[in-house]
Symmetry: C2
């Protein structure tokens, strides 16, 4: 090896916050993404795979919950350009759309799936590389685009195996909140900068509803909130009546969509932007109801605001409603697995022209975790049939067996470690979760037979069988060599039946 001077051995670890996925972890995710892609494609969405690396300039400063540019991304200087790993799939879409807008259909429905990277403090279950799966419609201002994405999200969740009743899609509209704040005198819509700042503080407060409850949010809207440890978070500084108006908005959910809409109309009376927001909500509601998506699947819910600063109209989120246990064993709902909304300003950064867009992002790892919890992931496929090596000079005989099995569509491999210790070969088969081991020693070869060992049955017998059962159901059978494939198929079928 080239110039291998004495040097410290490198650590065999990925960087902090990164991890590796093995075997079924990968194939289960791949399968789920394929199911999602099927639904997206059926709705007319086209796949886009943009580059993982973007210029920092193109990514802009829209990383969720971060105000400063480049905060939270992995970036480096390359020649004269700052490059960065994408932190989501929306910012690259804006760049791609701006770049190719003359060739792309308009409206452009696209979906994308792949890893994104965040330069954040890693923690338990919080990784710096993770998958996202997005669908967006760029170039349509119609509420039908938002309604379609909500309906598609419902179909997608059912498509991957979340039963109807186990999820709910909640829809709200940022303009309604803006209207409520305008009416309450919290903000002056003519001063854009101050408006946006105040709205940001209120949005962050509302978004904590899940964690802090109504009381906590109310405190965050007012003077501030002290947590159990005594730490104090400064509030938005609203007056009591202002905070009350905001809280009224969050509690405006009615028994029906019509009731919610009418509650909201009262709250935003006199605000043009608020009126527009409620109109949009009503259009979405009408569209999804007309398509048969009732309140068991899609509901209007004023308490949904979504964290991201860039949403400009409808926002929506999919929540899984079944119960799980938290770390302390207390029951809680599984929670959000997807969210999105309308962001009419994102492409404008590049072109100067406003381009309406709306889209959703699915949290791939969370949805996969939910499917595992609900037992909706098919049982782990068995490992390969292992052809053991009794005589290392006859590797080609063993390879031929594996080859025959594969030709019949059976996953199979020859043991490639040191064959001296046969016990190691069976341990290996065990580690590989092999259903069957094939054995052909010199005697068998002479007699023209092979031994087929049922490792599943063997393990069962070893656990709890009586002597009679051992005799009645031998876990190892001798068969003529030419019947190898047929007999393996039989044994696999029997295993499938008794498992």
């Amino acid at each position: 090896m080239a110039k291998q001077k004495k040097e410290a051995k490198p650590k065999a670890l990925p960087p902090k916050g990164f991890c590796d996925y093995f075997g079924t972890d990968v194939s289960e995710r791949t399968k789920m993404l394929r199911q999602i892609a099927y639904v997206y494609h059926l709705y007319g969405f086209e796949q886009l795979e943009s580059s993982a690396v973007e210029t920092v300039e193109a990514l802009g400063k829209f990383l969720p919950d971060v105000d400063r540019p480049n905060e939270g991304v992995f970036a480096w200087l390359e020649d004269e350009d700052w490059l960065a790993l994408r932190y989501d799939l929306t910012a690259p879409l804006a760049r791609v759309y701006a770049q190719h807008r003359n060739d792309l259909p308009s409206p452009y429905r696209r979906f994308a799936m792949g890893p994104v990277w965040r330069n954040e403090k890693p923690g338990p279950g919080r990784f710096r590389q993770f998958y996202q799966c997005d669908a967006d419609t760029v170039g349509s201002a119609s509420m039908a685009a938002d309604a379609e994405i909500c309906a598609m999200l419902a179909d997608t969740l059912e498509g991957v195996g979340i039963a109807r009743g186990d999820y709910i899609i909640r829809v709200n509209n940022r303009k309604v909140l803006n209207g409520v704040m305008e009416v309450a005198g919290v903000l002056d819509p003519t001063d854009l900068e101050k408006f946006t700042e105040a709205r940001g503080i209120v949005l962050r407060a509302i978004d904590k509803l899940d964690r802090f409850g109504l009381e906590g949010v109310s405190q965050l809207l007012g003077a501030g909130r002290k947590d159990d440890s005594g730490d104090f978070t400064k509030g938005a500084g609203l007056t009591a009546s202002q905070a009350e108006a905001i809280m009224g908005f969050m509690e405006a959910l009615g028994a029906t969509a019509a009731e919610t809409l009418s509650n909201l109309r009262v709250l935003i009376k006199g605000s043009a932007v608020g009126e527009a927001g409620v109109d949009e909500l009503e259009q979405i509601s009408d569209l999804v109801i007309a398509q048969g998506y009732g309140s068991d699947r899609i509901v209007l819910d004023p308490s949904v605001v979504r964290g991201l600063g860039y949403y400009t109209g409808p926002v929506y989120e999919a929540e899984l409603t079944f119960e799980i246990k938290d770390e302390k064993g207390r029951p809680r709902q599984f929670g959000s697995v997807a969210g999105g909304g309308r962001y009419d300003d994102l492409v404008k950064r590049f072109t100067g022209q406003e381009v309406p867009a709306t889209g959703v992002s699915i949290g791939v790892d969370r949805l996969l975790a939910a499917l595992r919890m609900k037992g909706r992931i098919e049982p782990v496929a068995l490992g390969p049939v292992v052809v053991t090596v009794m005589d290392r000079d006859r590797m080609s005989d063993y390879q031929a067996m594996a080859s025959e099995l594969r030709t019949a569509g059976i996953r199979a491999e020859v043991y490639l470690g040191n064959p001296k210790n046969f016990g190691n070969q069976l341990k290996y088969a065990d580690n590989r979760k092999s259903p069957i081991a094939i054995i052909e020693g010199g005697d068998e070869k002479m007699a023209g037979i092979v031994q087929i060992k049922d490792l599943i049955l063997g393990a069962q017998l070893a656990k709890d069988a009586t002597l009679e059962e051992w005799k009645a159901r031998p876990s190892q059978i001798k068969v003529p060599r030419q019947e190898l494939v047929e007999q393996v198929l039989n044994m696999l079928a029997a295993q499938g039946a008794t498992e």
Copy 2:
């Protein structure tokens, strides 16, 4: 939007050397990777998806053809660690294996597919992010592991659609070349450093056989080579008889494997390492022949050396042998689409223990390009059925139609742009490659019918139909609303038949 001060618009471009993939470009690659994964899985290989980011320390300095660390990778300082994007899938495998070796089966067969990044000068068709697809067996010193990968590579190529006869897998062994050099007095195997350096120069010269021919390689082994432009490349400085010995090695290919082996035995006579190399070649040859892989699929070929410095024994490469035209219209063979070999030292960097390993990497983009050239990619799927919007107040009617079509498995979407100009809607359908457009204006609604417009037939008729044909085969039909799905299915079936 927050603090949108006057600032220069960002350029809507990816970084230099990066690009985006749209629609069928993505789905065709995905499909090919799925076919490859099927074969790998059948052979008992397990998928691994390691993180895209590694520490520079873990990646080491093994980037092909590059001697200095970090050259050619995208790297940045993060807190105290230098991080980098992986430049291939082998270096991460070594890290993963070293990290998890106590839990992984031994031998460990794994496959991986995904993007890698190279910080190289971009050029035409030369990107800084591209896909690789690897299969490796770690922990087996047996030549059966190498033979298996060669056989699997043949099955994989046929699995994705390369016909037998259109590819050849060539196998060689680095130890044989070492032996030849030792016998020729080119190098002294006891001085490891000098040995490696001299071997590197010779390897690079031999690897240029494709481009410069035997004569050019011979010059590179000797004093040097002047190219057409007059530029001079310094040679390895071998004496005439030394260069002749190396050239003899490259021309040792016989009519049969047995003849090639016997030619090689003559050349390496007296070199222990050379003997070992020919023995290994013979084992691989015997194994693949016994499994039915004849010289129409796998051959021994002493001219194959592979560029990478880290190979220690067998090397192999898959070449597509059908002819294509080069940029100047001259016929040439398509060339290499996959290559690999044995690299027994790679894991040792981490653990101090030598771990035998062998594996192959498929050039995903090249293989995909080859399949496209051979017409082995199924014709591009048609776009969605487009439900046009005649009356913007009846979006829910149109959405309901699209929804019914989707329920029947038909890809469908409602036009979501501004519906005012109906011509734009048909232009959109054209851009989307839609087979069918659905039209329901106020009159149709009243009459309980819909119009189904055959866009494929319409385009054909527009091109070359007579008036009689226009009348005989109307490209637009009126059907009762409740027959929408049935009639669309009929029309799609007819299109499939006449295409």
